[in-house]
């Protein structure tokens, strides 16, 4: 009687262990799906695009023939766009974070701003495009220009920078702030000379990740009118412009197969730029 019971238990344990091992394999396989997809995507893009990726592709403007088309306007446009997004979003974003962490009283109003920022981070990017279209393009009469696109993107990445900067500022130990106050430094002196330098690596890492999001965004820029056919470099904030994702989108939509290869080449350039930015972020995180 007791023996059979033991046998049954043994059997059940074996069954349970077997199930555990089977599902472990299933879980691992599921994890690899995402990784395999990533590998496939990179492989496809590389093999399709590498043939079109050469000096001409980097330095050419858009063209009606796949062999002559290039990403120069998009590359420069993306860089110029970041040139607007970065200062605007960093100043406002870090400023907001300092305000919330160091100056604001912990009252309902502050909580409201905090929840509001959280919600903004969840607003679809295309809705920012609509805001930009109404406010920057029409109300401020910027039209379909670099500045309209840049400011729209700055608002889009703002919540990400605020949250990253808040976390970085919060992690500055209180005792070094006390040391500064203890020597008669004022609040702003303490923030500028102690808090911000100590929080800088965290702020920079978060900022670079936010900016790389801005580099890859397409939808809001379509709405605020980034052009596709640009044959000159923007020479002012009120110039027409294009960016890399818009170029890629445009090429992807064309029926002839060659344009797919051009799009793939464009994607390679875009991914390289993103890779560089992330490498910088990792470098900063490890260095400090």
């Amino acid at each position: 009687m007791l023996d059979t019971n033991q046998n049954n238990i043994q059997k059940r344990i074996r069954g349970r262990v077997l199930l555990n091992n089977v599902l472990k394999v299933l879980f691992f396989t599921s994890t690899t799906v995402g990784l395999i997809f990533l590998a496939l995507l990179l492989y496809r893009v590389l093999t399709q695009g590498i043939g079109y990726l050469n000096g001409n592709f980097i330095s050419n403007f858009p063209a009606p023939y796949p062999e002559e088309a290039g990403i120069f306007a998009g590359l420069i446009g993306s860089i110029m766009l970041i040139g607007i997004v970065a200062p605007v979003a960093i100043v406002i974003g870090v400023g907001t974070a300092i305000f919330l962490e160091e100056y604001a009283y912990k009252n309902r109003w502050t909580k409201f701003i905090q929840v509001n920022i959280q919600n903004l981070a969840g607003v679809p990017s295309i809705v920012y495009g609509l805001l930009g279209l109404t406010f920057f393009v029409y109300m401020l009469r910027f039209g379909y220009t670099l500045i309209a696109g840049g400011l729209t993107m700055a608002l889009l990445v703002l919540p990400v920078i605020v949250v990253a900067a808040q976390e970085a500022i919060r992690s500055v130990p209180a005792d070094i702030k006390e040391a500064s106050y203890g020597m008669g430094a004022s609040k702003w002196q303490t923030i500028r000379r102690v808090v911000l330098p100590a929080a800088l690596p965290g702020i920079l890492t978060g900022t670079i990740l936010a900016l790389s999001r801005a580099i890859g965004e397409t939808a809001p820029l379509i709405i605020v009118g980034a052009a596709t056919a640009i044959y000159t470099i923007p020479d002012s904030l009120l110039s027409k412009y294009t960016v890399m994702p818009i170029q890629i989108f445009n090429w992807t939509g064309r029926p002839q197969e060659e344009w797919q290869f051009v799009a793939a080449a464009g994607i390679i350039v875009l991914l390289i730029v993103l890779l560089l930015m992330n490498a910088i972020a990792v470098f900063i995180r490890n260095k400090f």
Partner: protein, 315 residues
């Protein structure tokens, strides 16, 4: 008098220092007062952004609903704005179809990845796999769209010959892949925050890791996991480029995934890039569609925040 012992040269420095400070007092005092005002201004930008979004969507939608009845808009089954039919249901079903497919792909894969990472993977494996998985979240959506159109669709077509060039299935699957890291990463965080002594208690009773995962960890991390899923679904609802590129632009009241459809987001792109003139009905319609989209995602985000707030109370 107490400075009698001090070095004379330094003594002068200190006097100069104090003097300097007194002289600069007015300037630095002004900075001290100006800085918080400036920072408050910065903080108000985010509030103004929200106000701007609400105001924009509301104002243009009201204009739109003055010419098209809001009832017809939300109950109409035909969306062909260029011939004057503004029934938004096809766009909503299109969005829901994409979201549903994405969820079917992402929820099981994301959760199983999270369980693997949190319960089975060694520390070293987790440290490599998790960031690699998160790379998926950093890939621009236009790249996903390109991949869906040029690789996933042809691949699926070899199994489903009836599949259109533009179809909801391919777009939905790729949106699902895109949100996997969100579910996997946030769920893994939630599972990781389950105290280890709960696990050890069960393991000591002879439970397998699987039983620990399903009977101890998942229930304890339930709300964190739910919050991550809701957040990811909200992301799928708002996703634009993948569906614009791979799902086409044919609004259809259908749940047939092999057909071309149009989502709320995709119409906004179409409406803004076409020959739409400022002030036309179509121009205003993109805001009505945008407002609908905004409400959907806002509700999902608030739901996610509500769930995770409950989660925090548990520990």
């Amino acid at each position: 008098m107490e400075k009698a012992f001090k070095d004379e040269t330094i003594d002068l420095d200190v006097q100069a220092l104090i003097d300097n400070k007194r002289k600069k007092k007015s300037i630095s005092g002004k900075i001290e007062k100006l800085v918080p005002a400036f920072l408050l201004l910065c903080a108000s930008v985010s509030v103004l952004t929200t106000a701007g979004i609400l105001f924009t969507l509301l104002r243009e939608s009201i204009t739109f609903f003055s010419s098209t009845s809001i009832f017809d808009f939300y109950t109409g089954t035909q969306w062909s704005p260029w011939s004057g039919h503004f029934g938004v249901l096809p766009l909503i079903t299109g969005t829901l179809l994409i979201t549903l497919i994405a969820a079917i792909v992402a929820v099981p894969l994301g959760l199983m990845s999270a369980i693997f990472l949190s319960e089975y993977a060694s520390n070293r494996a987790r440290k490599i796999i998790k960031p690699t998985l998160e790379v998926l979240a950093g890939i621009p959506t236009v790249v996903y769209g390109f991949f869906a159109l040029t690789f996933v669709t042809p691949l699926l077509k070899s199994f489903l010959p009836g599949l259109g060039v533009f179809n909801a299935l391919s777009a939905g699957i790729v949106v699902g892949i895109m949100i996997i890291p969100m579910i996997a990463s946030l769920s893994e965080d939630a599972m990781n925050s389950v105290p280890n002594n709960l696990r050890e208690g069960a393991l000591a009773l002879g439970a397998t890791k699987l039983e620990v995962a399903f009977k101890v960890v998942l229930p304890a991390a339930f709300s964190g996991i739910m919050a991550s899923i809701v957040l990811a679904i909200s992301r799928a609802i708002g996703e634009t480029m993948i569906v614009v590129i791979a799902a086409g632009a044919s609004p259809a009241l259908t749940f047939d995934p092999t057909r071309s459809i149009q989502t709320l987001t995709a119409f906004i792109v179409q409406g803004a890039t076409g020959d739409t003139t400022f002030g036309s009905t179509i121009y205003y319609s993109i805001y009505a569609v945008g407002a609908t989209l905004f409400i959907f995602t806002l509700l999902m985000n608030m739901l996610s925040q509500y769930i995770s707030r409950k989660f925090r109370e548990e520990y």
